[in-house]
């Protein structure tokens, strides 16, 4: 089967493998064995609990403004899990899932949202760029890095995460256009979560799908059920293989829903109805996977309890570590501006220290 032809965006089809009730569509198999499915379910539970904890910390004043992932776990885990260690990820600001999968410690993630930029320092060997808050601007970086690797003859893949709102930006157009012309090994992963803060998807674009935008740039786009871990994995695997073999970029539209607010600074009841939110509940990526596992005899209340307890312990530890890291020193404000501190910066640093 040719995925990109069978699910061509203009055919109005979206790939779904795992039905909401936890059974598979006829003719499909999970892309991984059941033991792996269980492991990934466990990771998704971890991501959701860590996300909830971040929200809680924000309400307690222990963490700044936060953008929760709640509902988009399958999009991020299912895609990032298909990458290799040498591949690069360019996150937006809701990417707790993808960044943890790539190996960013939860401690760093929490530290960043607590306001310490040390949290954005990816450990050596983990190619995850810092959170990118100006919407859509980082797609260009993903194209640049992919292109550089291609010019150097290194077979890496770059993955940029963004939302439906970002597709309205000029940088989205420029990044897609460059990627198409120069066939860069870039995957554009759009998590269409239906809202850009309060503005619904229907007001972002008159295109029927976001996936179909790829057609205009001369490469493949595909729409996938973003709450279906299996479908996200299958689509991403094909896009990664394609990129790695020199066949260029892909736009993936993961259709999903943000159950939480845009950030902790926002009140979603102002722009969407409870009915709309409820209509998405049965499509929750965790519930679906749990129903699947239950049918395979790999899930029970007792197992769930155990998973949750283990996750909570690990999360507690990460938060403890993050909170024990001292606040940045005055030197830190100055010493990373350039590799060598310039004379004016040295003078400013001395002055600040003298009055501090």
């Amino acid at each position: 089967m040719n995925l990109f032809e069978d699910y061509h965006p203009l055919k109005g089809k979206m790939l779904q493998i795992l039905k909401p009730e936890g059974t598979l569509h006829p003719g499909f198999r999970p892309p991984i064995d059941d033991q792996k499915v269980f492991e990934f379910y466990q990771k998704m539970v971890f991501i959701r609990l860590a996300d909830q904890r971040a929200l809680m910390l924000q309400r307690q004043g222990r963490l700044g403004t936060y953008a929760p992932i709640w509902g988009q776990e399958a999009c991020q885990l299912g895609s990032a899990i298909m990458l290799q260690k040498e591949d690069w990820v360019f996150p937006a600001f809701r990417e707790i899932g993808a960044t943890l999968v790539m190996g960013i410690p939860l401690r760093n993630f929490m530290l960043y949202w607590m306001g310490n930029e040390k949290g954005s320092q990816a450990p050596e060997g983990i190619n995850v760029m810092p959170v990118s808050i100006p919407v859509g601007t980082h797609l260009l970086h993903a194209v640049g890095t992919a292109w550089a690797a291609k010019l150097k003859g290194e077979k890496i893949v770059t993955m940029a995460y963004f939302g439906d709102g970002a597709t309205s930006k000029g940088d989205f157009h420029e990044a897609m256009n460059f990627a198409g012309v120069f066939k860069t090994p870039t995957i554009f992963f759009c998590q269409n979560n239906q809202y850009a803060i309060s503005v619904p998807r229907s007001l972002q674009t008159a295109s029927k799908t976001i996936a179909q935008k790829a057609i205009a740039y001369g490469f493949e786009g595909i729409q996938v059920d973003g709450n279906d871990l299996f479908a996200v994995m299958v689509v991403t695997r094909v896009a990664v293989e394609k990129a790695r073999s020199g066949e260029g970029p892909t736009l993936i539209e993961g259709v999903t829903f943000r159950f939480g607010p845009h950030t902790t600074a926002d009140d979603p009841t102002k722009y969407r109805t409870e009915q709309e939110v409820e209509s998405w509940r049965p499509l929750d990526p965790l519930i679906r996977l749990r129903l699947y596992l239950e049918r395979q005899g790999l899930w029970s209340e007792r197992i769930e309890q155990q998973i949750v307890e283990e996750a909570k312990e690990e999360i507690d530890l990460a938060i403890k570590e993050a909170e024990s890291i001292p606040a940045p020193e005055i030197d830190d404000i100055f010493k990373y501006v350039f590799r060598e501190m310039t004379l004016p910066l040295k003078e400013q640093l001395e002055y600040l220290k003298s009055i501090h």
């Binding site: 040390k118 954005s120 760029m129 194209v143 256009n177």
Partner: protein
């Protein structure tokens, strides 16, 4: 020693640095086949090929945003923005990302790139082709803004800019692109960034000038000498 104008001096610096460092690539609008609208990159695509001197789509923010992605991965991109009036879409990338990536990642990632931009008036160009945006740029943290005022300086400062581990915006005063010819040595010489050039010493007036205005100031100072005013 050859007498070169500023366009030729910059071209020489690019050619020599590209010869030495295979990580250097040039990207921009019309920089390849055309050799740039001011011919600054003339002959470089023939010499180094289409993978190192790249004609890009017409998208300024794209050019510099992509250059960041390349620099982070270990290339040394030199981006050309055709005229300073078209630099403004890049400010988002320059201010929010290029100038900050080292700081934001606490040194894990850095962005050694050069953005070359012909700037300033005096060539009878249409509007949006004669701006002097250096004051805006100089206030952005994390980037260095360099402006040569002679062909000799252009070569030496560009070499330093290319070798600098941090992002540099290299503004080229287009009014004097071909107005001055002076001896410019071949081969390795560089002028350190961040130090002004003391043209002459006087006791009455201090004038600070850069780019195309340096020549005007020197002429003015010579005339003031007749009035016994030392600049």
């Amino acid at each position: 020693m050859a007498k070169l104008n500023m366009v030729e001096a910059i071209n020489l610096a690019l050619r020599e640095e590209m010869e030495k460092d295979p990580r250097i690539i040039i990207l921009g609008e019309d920089v390849g086949r055309e050799g740039g609208v001011f011919r600054v990159t003339d002959g470089l695509q023939q010499r180094y090929g289409v993978d190192r001197v790249i004609d890009t789509p017409l998208a300024e923010s794209g050019i510099v945003g992509i250059a960041l992605g390349m620099a982070v991965y270990g290339l040394r991109p030199i981006a050309e923005i055709q005229f300073e009036g078209f630099l403004y879409p890049c400010l988002d990338q320059i201010n929010n990302h290029i100038g900050r990536i080292r700081n934001r990642s606490r040194g894990r990632f850095s962005c050694p790139l050069v953005i070359r931009v012909p700037y300033g008036g005096g060539i009878h160009a249409p509007e949006h082709h004669s701006d002097s945006p250096e004051a805006i740029l100089a206030h952005i943290p994390g980037i260095k803004v360099i402006i040569p005022s002679t062909p000799y300086e252009a070569k030496g400062l560009l070499i330093s800019s290319i070798r600098d581990p941090d992002p540099v915006i290299f503004l080229e005063p287009k009014r004097i692109y071909r107005a001055i010819r002076e001896e410019v040595p071949e081969g390795d010489f560089s002028i350190p960034l961040g130090k002004a050039n003391l043209v002459q010493e006087g006791k009455d007036v201090t004038v600070v000038a850069w780019g195309a205005m340096v020549r005007e100031v020197i002429n003015a100072a010579n005339r003031l000498r007749e009035d016994k005013i030392e600049v």
